[in-house]
Structure formats: structure tokens, C-alpha cells
Amino acid sequence: MLEKNEVHIVDYKFNILVWIDLLIFTMITIEIAQFDFQALTVMVALVIATLKTYLVGTYFMHLKFENRFLQTIVVGVGLLFIAVLMVLFTDFLYY
């Protein structure tokens, strides 16, 4: 009962643009990894990876055109995982 059957088509060209962005991001990560910012490097790498995931999710996986509920649970699962990791690290961080 939730679905609306309108189809949203992501155009060929737009898909290719997303792909080019993804390649650029990949290059940036590799470049940045050459500098040693210590812990920051990992953070930057992960942030870029997350941006890439955002692109793949929103456009390739069509999340942008899905209903609210689906968008929420996808983000929710991501946050849940991060929360679990944070709670876990209360052990290792202070050990």
C-alpha cells in the first residue's frame, strides 16, 4: 500500500557523471593517502569512502527516488552500526 508506481528514470548521461565523480574521488583518496596526517588520513579516507557510498546509494541504487521509509532505514542501519562500534570502543579505548 505504500508504493506509488511512478517510475523515475536516471538518464544515461547523469549516470556517467556520477561515475566520473566516483573516479575523481578515488584519485583524491589515493593522492591524499600519500601524505601522512596520522589518524587524520584514515578519517579523510573514510569520509571520502562515505561520500562515494552516498553517490552510489542515491543515484545508482535509486534511493533518491524511493519512499521516506526506505531512506530512513538505510540511514538508520548505518547509524546503528556506528553506534555499536562506538559502544564497543568504550572497552578498547579505555583498556
Binding site: 549516470n15 561515475w19 573516479l23 578515488t26 583518496t29 593517502a33 588520513t41 579516507a45 545508482f60 552500526f81
Partner: protein, 207 residues
Amino acid sequence: MSSESVSQNHTAHFDAYGIKLGMWLFLFTEVLLFGGLFIVYATYRFLNPEAFHEGSSQLNLVVGAINTVFLLTSSLTVALSITALQKGDSKKAIDLIMITIVFAVAFMFNKYYEWTIKFEHGMFPGMDHYKELPPGEAQFFNLYFLMTGLHAVHVIVGAILLLIVAWFIKKGSVNQQRIVYLENAGLYWHLVDVIWIYLFPLFYLII
């Protein structure tokens, strides 16, 4: 996930959204399956930072980067294939799936090459050189083989799913109106891509 909604058994109704929702739920389980390994990774990396750096420098960045490009591109072709089928061009859709498969094979080939080299150096679980690795580094390679290995299994499964869907498109049972199976196989493929997006920097790029 090729099960159909029940109602289809005895009425004309076909619940595309339900099937897609099912696929997403399945993807969550995949995310958390890898999530368990990411947790182990995060912990051991935290406990042995230098060793992980040391281990990472022994991996071949070029091979990793090429594989990243392969997977990103294959994701693109899957996305394009969905666009094609949405527009009703099933021939183009099949062609694009086939290109995806080619990239998948290329990825696996690269992986094979990478692992063979490790193998020749005795750097494979159970082999002599492997057993002599210093503590943290052993964990790095344990995780490397386990995570990229599990990922490779997913690449194979994803490729098979796509092939099956291509066959159905050819037969006509997956078409512009009933595109959800292609979308689902695509979702799976993109997930495989997303996991690699994280694996790549975490294994090949640690400073």
C-alpha cells in the same frame, strides 16, 4: 531473492515494492555480515597500528586501484542497464549486463593474480612464511584474506545473479513493467561495490 509476492500466485497483483523492500532487508544483513569483520578490523588496527601500516605497504596499490576502477565502472554499467530497461530497450540492457560481467571477470582475474603472488611468497594462511609473521601483521593478513576473500565470493554470486536476470530479460519475463528483478540484482551488485569502496582504503592505503 527471486521469490515473488504471494498475491501473484492467485491474482494478477505483483508487489514490486515488497520485493524491493525484501532485497533491501537482505542487503542489511550483508552489511552487518561484513560489519562484524569491520569491527574486528577496527579493533586490531587500533591495537596494532604500526603492524597494520607495515602489512599494508606489502600490498600492491596499483592492483587495488585498478580493481576499484573495474568495480566502479561495472556499477555504472549496471545502473545504465537499468535505465535501458526502464526505457524498454532490453537488448541494450542485456549488453550492458554482459559488459558488467566482463568487468567482474577482470576483477576476479586481478584478484587471482594478486593472490598467486602472495602464494608464491609463501604468504597464504597455513604456509610457512605466513606463520612467521610478527603478531599484529599476522592479524592484518588474516583480515585481508578473510575480507577480500568473502568479498570475492560476493562478486561471484553477484555476477551469477546478473547472468540469471539477463537470461530472464532475454526470455521476456523481466521487462519494462517487471523490472524489479533487474533492480534487485543491481542493488546487490552496487552493495558489492560499496563494500569494496571501504575495503580499498582500509587495506591498500594505510599510512
